[in-house]
Amino acid sequence: MTELEDEVVRRQRERARIMAWLLGGFVVLLFFITIAKTGINW
């Protein structure tokens, strides 16, 4: 691979990893929003 291709792959991996964390966080947030909106007490 050329240096440019290496850099493209590195950036794509970084962005994919951050996107995965954000999506995971969003799912967790939606879960807790649902719990709060339905008024369920733990």
């Binding site: 950036r11 794509q12 962005r15 951050i18 947030l29 929003i33 709060a36 909106k37």
Partner: protein, 302 residues
Amino acid sequence: MPAIEMSNPAALPADWRDILALTKPRVMSLVVFSGLCGLLAAPELPPLVLGFTAILCIALGAGACGALNQWYEVEVDASMRRTAKRPLPAGRMDRDTALQFGVGLGVFSVLLMGLATSWLAAALLAISILFYVLVYTVWLKPRTPQNIVIGGAAGAFPPLIGWVAATGHIAALPLLLFLIIFLWTPPHFWALSLFVRSDYAAAGIPMLPVVAGPQSTRRQIFIYSLAMAAAAVAPWPLGLAGPIYGLCSAILSFVFLVLAARVAANQAPDPALMGPEKHLFAYSVFYLFALFTVLVADRWLA
């Protein structure tokens, strides 16, 4: 479309740090803080997760504004020293990425706000984003020296949105908070634009110091500071805040007025001699943080 050449090969996807920089994180911090204070000053608090989501949505909305502002102003940013190193004018990102990111973030923040808190809060968030992008950035900023005065309304929305997210309705105190930020914005930005006047002139932005000159701007700074100080103290005599807020807001506003008076008395045309302007700009940021902190402290200690 502006003819900005990318120094970065087009094949390279934008670095995530540059995408983050599009949201103007430093500006976002003041927006988030004022939104949080609006929420905490409300008489009733939502569940923790809904309050967190409301503040998150305000932050994302502010980020969308930053991204769309930079997408639209790429040529202006390229011509100003202060902004030339931003991702778009520096050629580290293509404009379409910024546009898609800004629109996506804005739509997401409004929908999430509506689903999590109230659709009135979501509507206010949508109005603030559209006002900042369309009314301020696209319409007023390149056309009139009053751009900051009217456009400042966009930055005044967060405490109102925070309050509405908590209570579901609009009340007198958050409207006063809106008014305080609205009146605070001109002295804050004009103080900055006085000592970076050549930048704005080079970019063709008709900021007040460029169009009306430094002395007229300095007078206007003082006049707006007087109105802002009156609005800042008003919650106390109106019975919307207690004596802790009343006393602290009076002291903070008095110092602001003293610094604004020093600016009004300054005759220096050279940015190197604009110490009073730099002091006022720095203090104005502290002032807003302190004023809103005291408001929340007053509400919680009362």
